[in-house]
């Protein structure tokens, strides 16, 4: 097996990064029998808390030991305390008390990750951006897809995700604020790739490969026009070499759905919590669109 590693990034918050990662991963595991690993790199631990009950999560990541925090802490301290197998959470516990989705694995985050950005500057580039790949790269091979859920910033943990990734996916809300941020993001990724990845022989050259539109509403002109402006921008950025040549807006656009929001409180992906909802339908179709775009590229 050779995993496709995808970083879900946007330094704008509230654009649906975690919702996309959690629900896409669950759908790939459930309906397409793909083995998927979610790596939660966000100190807010939203992917972890979406898929784990808070008491179980707290117990699991106590002191950050069995979480992605330990990967960075080890790099700073020069130690090897992180143990992939004990940190890994396999499947999702449903209301039955038993696990479902055995092909969905999670490396949870912990709030201790907040401390990392302050301390990590003790390390120097380029090594500081290779921490995640160095610690997790060998384990990625056991999966079909590895989805890296990044914090809403472009600091060191996010750059580690970009460095590890084959491609980046940008969750996006169709409005002008997202559009302006998207241009900056494309430039930052291109600059990062140029400085730290392009010269490495055999290294993946991560770039933006797709966008996922969330919180879409079909009423009026608002979102259609914003999507049109995004499409025109995409064409320009592709022509300028700032995106992958095949970069596209994945279909369908994810509509606003209250059942998705509810599913966070049930600690279940929407495909398990409300399979009849439009949210579940959209993520199912998105997973298919995702496979059509990325699975053929392996």
């Amino acid at each position: 097996m050779s995993a496709k590693v995808l970083a879900f990034i946007n330094f704008k918050g509230g654009v649906g990064k975690t919702a996309t990662v959690v629900n896409l991963a669950a759908t790939l595991a459930k309906l397409h029998e793909k083995k998927v690993l979610i790596v939660d790199l966000d100190p807010q631990s939203n992917s972890s808390l979406w898929l784990m009950r808070p008491d179980r999560w707290r117990e699991h990541v106590e002191h950050g030991r069995r979480s992605t925090f330990q990967i960075f802490e080890d790099a700073i301290q020069g130690k090897t305390r992180f143990d992939f197998n004990t940190a890994l959470v396999q499947g999702v516990t449903t209301w039955t008390g038993f696990t479902d989705l055995p092909k969905l694995h999670l490396l949870p985050a912990s709030v201790e990750l907040l401390r990392i950005e302050d301390k990590i500057h003790e390390l120097r580039a380029p090594g500081v951006f290779q921490i995640v790949e160095g610690a997790l790269g060998p384990y990625f091979k056991a999966y079909d897809f590895v989805l890296l859920d990044c914090p809403p910033n472009l600091y060191t943990t996010t750059k580690n995700a970009i460095f590890s990734a084959d491609s980046c996916i940008v969750p996006y809300v169709p409005d002008y604020l997202s559009l302006s941020g998207f241009h900056v993001l494309a430039e930052v990724i291109a600059d990062f790739r140029h400085r730290f990845a392009d010269h490495l022989p055999g290294k993946r050259r991560p770039n933006i490969g797709a966008l996922v539109v969330s919180h879409y509403r079909q009423t009026g002109n608002v979102f259609r026009l914003a999507i049109n402006e995004l499409e025109i921008s995409l064409a320009r950025l592709k022509a300028a070499g700032l995106l992958e040549s095949g970069a596209l807006l994945l279909n369908p656009y994810i509509r606003h759905c209250v059942r998705v929001a509810e599913s966070t409180s049930e600690h279940l992906p929407v495909i398990l919590y409300a399979p009849g909802s439009i949210g579940a339908q959209d993520y199912c179709d998105l997973a298919q669109g995702f496979l059509n775009h990325f699975d053929g590229k392996k």
Partner: protein, 206 residues
Amino acid sequence: MNYSDLAQKLLRLAERLEKHSAKIEGEALARPARKISAEADRLEAALDSFLASRKSGELILETLLRSPAAKKHLSVDVLRKILREVADKRLKSEDLAAAKREFIEVVHHHKEAEQATKTLKKFFMQAVEVPPGGKEKAALQREFIQLGSLADDEFAKEVARRTFGELRRLADANGIRFTDKTTKPRLILLVRRYSQRAILNISAAA
């Protein structure tokens, strides 16, 4: 709890029962023992059924038929077509829920779960494919941006050269919503406003 934890728990219990089986007795032990024995039979039957349907490919087929994607895209006609293709059989049910049950039964009978799953997956793959706007859409988006960059008098000259139909295609390709009642002057206003906005937003963002 995951199933591995349960297996460990049962193994530990089994070992203790085995070790002390010659000396344990009484109703207090027998009652839960009787219950666990009955539940173990049920669990074993459910496990056998699960493993058999997984092995034959029927589990994923049923999962797909019950999936949110099926709710959105699947119809009796589609199932009828797939069944004819994979098993050369005619689907009799007219109701979707009944058709799904009949579909599974026929596929099971003909041992064609793998082929049916493959065909169903192909159907779902095609169902989400959106025909690309292609060169025409890209050209209309370029035209829109070009119109947005023109001064008022140049814009007026440019749109005067276009038919109402051409303007409607331009507006539609660029996300402008209009109805059959939208007049040409109104559509021109909308194109003017939103093409200028696109220029402003895209250049400001870049």
